[in-house]
């Protein structure tokens, strides 16, 4: 078995995660509160995932990812999903150049580091799948050429939970591509007071680039090295298996409430997200607290509930809470 020097790893993490303070400080200039959302954005960024945000309009979703992009000195694109959007509007297309007499590549907004897919459920399935394929494969083919998407590459998609008319719900298989689904809520009273004052006074000062993309890529490598004991691995698998076979964990009352459980991608995402969370907490090893901290965001969109559950007003949150409270912590 590979020998790991946790002490050395901890020291390395202390060094490699130093940029987090800088980043938080810089982003904090434009965003008040929403620490949970920013932390999840970092988890997705560090573990090469993508994030689906659900929240009412006006919660600084766009501002958050724009600020993150600016602070990391990367390119940012915002795609507003509409019913008449076409895959080429996202990926790009080949355009005929009359002067040169040939086709030239016109790259779409997906060729950026940070992408905000605003209201992703407003576009039809073919457009959604075009983006989701690019997210998964991290390359796009235009004509005969395949273009690799530049790293770091992070898609933050948003969904508005209150206006469902004229929307195209993301199928389960496509939602599964998002590492995290984060629900964001309104800011606290004091936070909102600061937001109000800041905006009335003329808005926040511009975000300076404080971190290079290379630092992020290096941090990603370090995140992979975060030690995960086999007890933690078992804990993660226990949680995922409890979503599939609750009776195996003596949670029989969930059996009729669950239509499907987490996929193997859920196990991978939970492991990655736990490592990234441990990294953010400046630790070189994963503890059960890390797993529990990200479990809701990893599983929320990967657990299907039955009609009975809906009729009883039981949500995915309730099911995940029950599982976390029943599965033994190592």
């Amino acid at each position: 078995m590979e020998s790991i020097d946790i002490k050395a790893l901890n020291e390395k993490i202390q060094q490699d995660s130093a940029f987090l303070d800088l980043l938080n400080l810089e982003i904090g200039k434009s965003i008040v509160g929403q620490k949970y959302m920013l932390e999840r954005l970092m988890i997705a960024l560090l573990s090469q995932g993508h994030i689906l945000l659900e929240g009412v309009p006006g919660l600084a979703k766009t501002l958050a990812i724009k600020s993150l992009s600016d602070a990391i000195d990367t390119r940012f694109s915002r795609i507003q999903f509409t019913p008449d959007l076409l895959p080429a509007d996202i990926l790009g297309t080949m355009i005929y150049n009359q002067a040169k007499g040939n086709f030239e590549v016109k790259k779409g907004p997906v060729f950026s580091n940070f992408i905000l897919a605003d209201e992703i459920n407003r576009a039809p399935a073919k457009v959604q799948s075009a983006l989701l394929q690019a997210m998964q494969e991290r390359h796009v083919t235009l004509g005969d050429t395949t273009y690799k998407l530049e790293e770091p590459f992070l898609v933050m998609a948003t969904m508005n939970p209150i206006e469902q008319e004229g929307t195209y719900n993301l199928p389960e298989a496509q939602v599964d591509r998002f590492m995290l689904k984060v629900k964001i809520t309104y800011p606290e009273f004091e936070e909102e007071r600061q937001i109000m004052r800041q905006n009335v006074a003329g808005g926040a000062s511009g975000i300076r680039p404080v971190v290079s993309p290379q630092t992020i890529l290096q941090a990603r490598d370090t995140v992979r090295q975060v030690y995960m004991d086999e007890k933690i691995e078992k804990y993660i698998l226990d949680i995922i298996f409890a979503t599939r076979e609750p009776e195996r964990y003596k949670i029989d009352n969930l059996k009729h409430l669950l239509s499907y459980g987490g996929s193997p991608r859920a196990s991978i995402s939970l492991a990655f997200a736990s490592k990234a969370y441990a990294f953010i907490k400046r630790r070189g090893y994963v503890i059960p607290e890390d797993v529990r901290a990200v479990a809701h965001d990893v599983l929320r969109h990967r657990v299907g509930i039955t009609y009975e559950a809906e009729a009883e007003n039981i949500t995915q949150e309730h099911i995940i809470d029950t599982i976390l409270n029943k599965v033994e912590v190592p």
């Binding site: 790991i4 030690y227 007890k231 503890i287 059960p288 607290e289 409270n325 033994e328 912590v329 190592p330």
Partner: protein, 330 residues
Amino acid sequence: MRYHLKYHLVHVAEKCSRWCRMSAFIVFMLAAFDAAAQSVSATTKEKEYQIGDWVPVDFFVSAARNVKVAFPAWKDSLTASVEVANYTSIDTVKNGNQSEYHQLVNMIVFDTGQVYIPAVPFLVSSGSTTDTLWTEPIKVHVAGVKIDTTKDIKPIKEPLKIPYTFREILPYLLGGLLLIAAIAAIIWWWKRRKNKQQSPPDEKYLLPPHVWAIKELDKLKQDKLWQTGDVKSYYSRLTDIARTYIELRYKIPAMEQTTEELMQALHKGIIKQSLKKDLNDMLVLSDFVKFAKAMPGMSENEQSFEVTRDFIEKTKQIETEPGKNGEKKK
């Protein structure tokens, strides 16, 4: 000559007439003899009956002893208005050369007015000859129920309750007994199967929590795990004992909680803060060992053991004999 012929013709005619009269007398006598040898009759005691009453009809046949008599096979009814309720067996009495047969047939008439009980055929056989003898029809008067119009109309009477006979009850009784036996057999089989499946009750639920925990600590000490280099197993068992004790003692789901959550659950009102701090240090150190490959020194291993034992000793719930008022002292 003519006179002589006339006289002769008159004489012959007289002779013939006498002969014919003699023959007719002989035939009449023979017929009278036969009629006296075989006779049938049907009689009723009364001529007046009430509707629905039994009308007992006595059928009598008298025949020579060497004559076979066949009574009719009684059906449900004789005519549309005369029904056969029941009948007795045929009573045979020998009287000299004659045999007398009696059968009482109870009939019911549901019509009012003059009703005829029809003629009934009886077959009499002597040697190769068979003759049919018919009874005379009987006229009876069937009266309806007399209604006293001066009195109030009474409600319809309930059907008569005829007590069940043992023969009628027997099949149900046997069926019930069989059903009870089958249910008892199923319950016995199910209990036996359950008992087979159930492992013997865990000792931790039988003993007081502190007794069980101290016993387990003694076993852990005897196993000398950390002394043989298996530090991780040592701390895993130590924390399991501590968590199980807390779960049993304080009814806190400690096995399903992280160290942080457990410390929050053990708030001020439950245990002393000094005890809580020592327990927290031990659990945090255990987490290091379990999840971060930490290798504590000998003194730390022993101290962790002592902290756990001390925690159990100082928080144990002592149950004494019930006091005067029946309450238990803690």
